[in-house]
Amino acid sequence: MKDGYAGRILEVNLTTGAITITDTPQGLKENFLGGCGFGAKLLYEKVPAKADPLGPENAVIMATGPITGTLIPSSAMLSTTTKSPLTNIVIRSLIGGFFATELKQAGYDALIITGAANKPIYLFIDDDEVQIKDASNLWGKNTFETQEKIKNELGYEDLQIATIGQAGENLIRYACLIGGARASGRGGLGAVFGSKMLKAVVVHGTKTIQLPNTNLVLEHTIKLSQKLKQNPASKSFPKYGSTASPASYSSMGIFGSFNWQREVFEDAELISGEHNTKRGLNIRSKACHGCLLSSGHVWMCGSGIFKGQLAEGPEYETLYSIGSMCGNNNFDSIVAAEKMCDEYGIDTITFGATVALAMECFEKGILTTRETDGIELNFGNHQAILDLIPKIVSRSGFGDWLAEGSRRLATRLGSEAEKFVSDIKGLEMAGHSARAHKGQALGYATSNRGGSHQDTRVTPERSGKFDRAAVEGKGKLAKESQDMTTIGDALTVCRRSTEALYGCFLNNDVVELVNIVTGQNYSLEDITKVAERIYTMEKLFNVREGLTRKEDTLPPRIMNEPIPDGASKGMYVPQDDLNRMLDEYYQIRGWDKESSYPSKESLRELGLECYLNDLYED
């Protein structure tokens, strides 16, 4: 069928070795669209309640969507859904590059991995032929070495590989998956792979991604690329990627620094893309599949023992987490840390935020050199950051404490440290100010994955189109932003160009795009329902894990400490503001205000009545 889908789902049970290929159900396509939609639905069905995320009961769903791998700009993304070992709830994590295209060309809309192997293995998907192969010679190798070795072993130069490094093997709770040098970063997917003794998924696909009307896609792509040329993003991204922002965010007083004690970072310019391009360290632009913005960049480390080494990245989030959050103005150390994190396979956001928490605890005497193995863990000590990475990955000494992420570190250190932690539902906030943007705060609080900036976007408030201080209307803003990001992750397209091409909320242009690639005749209402259904499905997973309204909250600092200085001085999100926004949000979603559970009516309306019994006894 020429409808944008590959038409099949591959399931591999690593315990039994069973490999099953089934047709992608029509109902799944229509109701859940693809990507994170398939992930939400299949994860709920494959993983029992309260399963150990690092046990064989957990599943990994890697899914593409109807746009993936086409000529539509930035159709590069793979959406992976699993139960996170960092948060014990659902995590949806996306990766760019070329893996998603390859998986779809091999003929699969989704890959489901269940069970666990008892020795290191990797999965080799060569179109219809699927093999579980021995990975004992790859275990212990970093992500770059692993990719090289697998290419040599299989004799293909042009393969797509998603692999874990040593961090995943050692079950670091924020280990990630690396493909090329891009990451499926957040939530510890790498540790789930490690717990299954699954080193990598390797794909070689030669099939055609079939569309109902290719000429229409060609015409539409030309229209989109002309539209993109009018957007300011098309000037900045090809030059600096996401690294142009630190100085302007700092001057707006929204650049989290020193573990969110402040939101100004005086040295923001030193870690910015513009400054370091002038230093000659911006080596080249690197695009993902179909990217017109070529927003990825290869940076060189300009000094220190890693001088001359290259990394793809850092992106903005890493400039925040390993830079400003740690009070670190040394750009070269951020590049070096980026490279190490990519090689070992750890999420730079959680890593940086966890170190930043430790730094604040060190400066306040909660941690001393006795616990830190002699490391003087002051803010700005960039050498300490670099020294900690291998310690974390090998879980040696103090590294073992940090390997658990900031929430568990705070719990270990006691009630004082818990005041400084910056996680939501166990996932550390990204580099977008909650205190200075009420809608973003609500977005973090209601994100199914925790402190992610990829559900509700900060863009509408930061641009000034919405009053960032206002409480009223933020329930609507957060929900409608989540609708748009959910559809983006279902289709699957990269956030960067979707915002430039379609804006931040669902609209008829998005619907037109969906109809062009699927040949369907969806309405805006249909697509909005799909978004609501997917988001509710993820929510149901979390509810089944025991989450209630109580967990839809913000870090203590965000609710109790006004921003001390800078252009956003005085702003914060008192509990009362959060409560009012949550009430509005639940009402719009049709969720119960006491429990936050999706109501019976809302489940019926979304066609999710089959899950009523999981929530309600009668």
Binding site: K2, G69, T70, L71, F98, T101, E102, Q105, D127, F144, Q147, E157, D158, G180, A181, G205, T206, K207, T208, I209, Q210, L211, P212, N213, T214, L218, T221, S225, P238, R284, S285, K286, A287, C288, H289, G290, C291, L292, S294, G296, V298, L310, E312
Partner: protein, 158 residues
């Protein structure tokens, strides 16, 4: 005679050229492995290198063909394959010194650049001006220009 010229320094590896090319060789849709231009990746992110037919004057692909399936397009001068004569042996792909003929499981005839009747889609869609269709007389022009600039600068600075 026109050729596709490649400015390697500007390539970001987006593979738009590859995707837009592929839809000419498949029945509705896209397929990165059914394209007459390929972007090869060196290492993890060190370099992305587009590879496509140079339309040689004495094509080794043609010489290697046992059925005489190769001919030259009268208008574009592109080296073409007569699909009626081709038996899919792949000798042409082996013979090409640059690896620019591509075999694909679902096709008998190798995939080879035919310059899209003179207006190549890859050139039209490349977002970074990596690809251009130029007269063969300008091949090497950039290097010649660099040399003349260097000499001129040296003179000015004397």
């Amino acid at each position: 005679m026109n050729r596709i010229l490649i400015d390697y320094e500007k390539c970001t590896g987006c593979r738009i050229c590859q995707m837009v090319c592929s839809q000419r060789f498949v029945d509705g849709g896209f397929n990165s492995r059914a394209a007459a231009i390929r972007v090869m990746v060196k290492g993890i992110f060190e370099a992305d290198v587009p590879v496509t037919c140079l339309q040689c004057k004495k094509p080794l692909c043609s010489e290697a063909c046992p059925t005489g399936a190769f001919y030259r397009d009268a208008v574009t001068n592109a080296v073409m394959i007569n699909e009626e004569k081709c038996i899919g042996c792949g000798k042409c792909a082996e013979a090409c010194p640059f690896g620019t003929l591509f075999l694909h499981p679902s096709r008998i005839v190798p995939i080879k650049c035919d310059l899209c009747s003179g207006n190549p889609l890859c050139v039209q869609h490349c977002p970074n001006e990596v690809l251009s269709l130029k007269s063969e007389t300008v091949v090497g022009e950039k290097k010649r220009k660099q040399l003349s600039e260097k000499i001129a600068t040296r003179r000015v600075n004397k």
